[in-house]
Amino acid sequence: MTTAHHQLLIVDDEPNVLLTLGMIFELDGYNVSKAGSCAEALKMLGNGTRYDAVITDLNMERQDIGLEVARAALQLTPRPVVVICTGYADLRNTQAALDMRVDYFATKPVDLDELKGAIRRLKERSTLARRIAG
């Protein structure tokens, strides 16, 4: 499955992370949108753009606020692949991510090949599942 034209939203309050991840996924063929805060991400998720995947940090305006981005993304139809990428994983936020059925949980420093592979596999899986569900 090609990643060309797949819409990816990256949410992180660290400009360097946004820049680096953005470049890497653009080189991989994704159309990348970026949000520097939870508020900005929620606005983008609500504007009708169909995202294939959303990668969000957890700690931005406040601790674990990225869970709100994940929750909003998980409610979209069709549902994008949702990935949490954080340097501050703890029992509470990891359990919350499992409970809300986030697709992938990565801890910083991120293994980029693993992250790219996971998103590709998960996207394939969700496309197949959508076909099965009709």
């Binding site: 994983a89 703890d90 990891t94 359990q95 099965i132």
Partner: protein
């Protein structure tokens, strides 16, 4: 292995090396109106996965050796994208929760909890999960 006689009856798979744990799950699920297939090892579990459509699966993180249950869960998720797949883990920690998410499990329960309690929780969590059309 028994096959569910009625398509309305939910078919569950429980994979665990301990026969007593398997029996308790089977009894608890039976009371919830489910038919349960049991497996004590990976080959039996894989045959069951190949021959049946499961809506619920509960897998020990340790079937034959520590950690092999995680990969079995990932296999189940790929074959049955809408099934409720839970893992019985040795502990609730960031690494085990992360593994559960990344292997596609819906929920993690500590294996030290009473089996009947976990079975009840599985039924509750299964009934609350979104239906296929709404999930993906």
């Amino acid at each position: 292995m028994a096959i569910a006689p009625n398509p309305e009856v939910k078919l569950a798979l429980v994979v665990h090396p301990n026969l007593s744990v398997l029996s308790k799950f089977q009894e608890a699920f039976k009371q919830a109106g489910m038919t349960t297939l049991l497996a004590r090892d990976l080959p039996t579990a894989l045959i069951a996965i190949a021959q049946n459509d499961f809506e619920i699966a509960v897998i020990s993180w340790r079937v034959t050796e520590p950690g092999d249950g995680w990969a079995l869960g990932a296999t189940l998720r790929r074959v049955f994208p809408f099934a409720f797949v839970a893992v019985l883990a040795n502990e609730t920690s960031v690494p085990t929760l992360k593994e559960a998410i990344n292997q596609g499990f819906d929920q993690l329960y500590e294996e030290s909890r009473p089996t009947e309690e976990v079975a009840t929780q599985v039924v509750v969590h299964f009934s609350k999960r979104p239906r296929p059309g709404a999930v993906q």
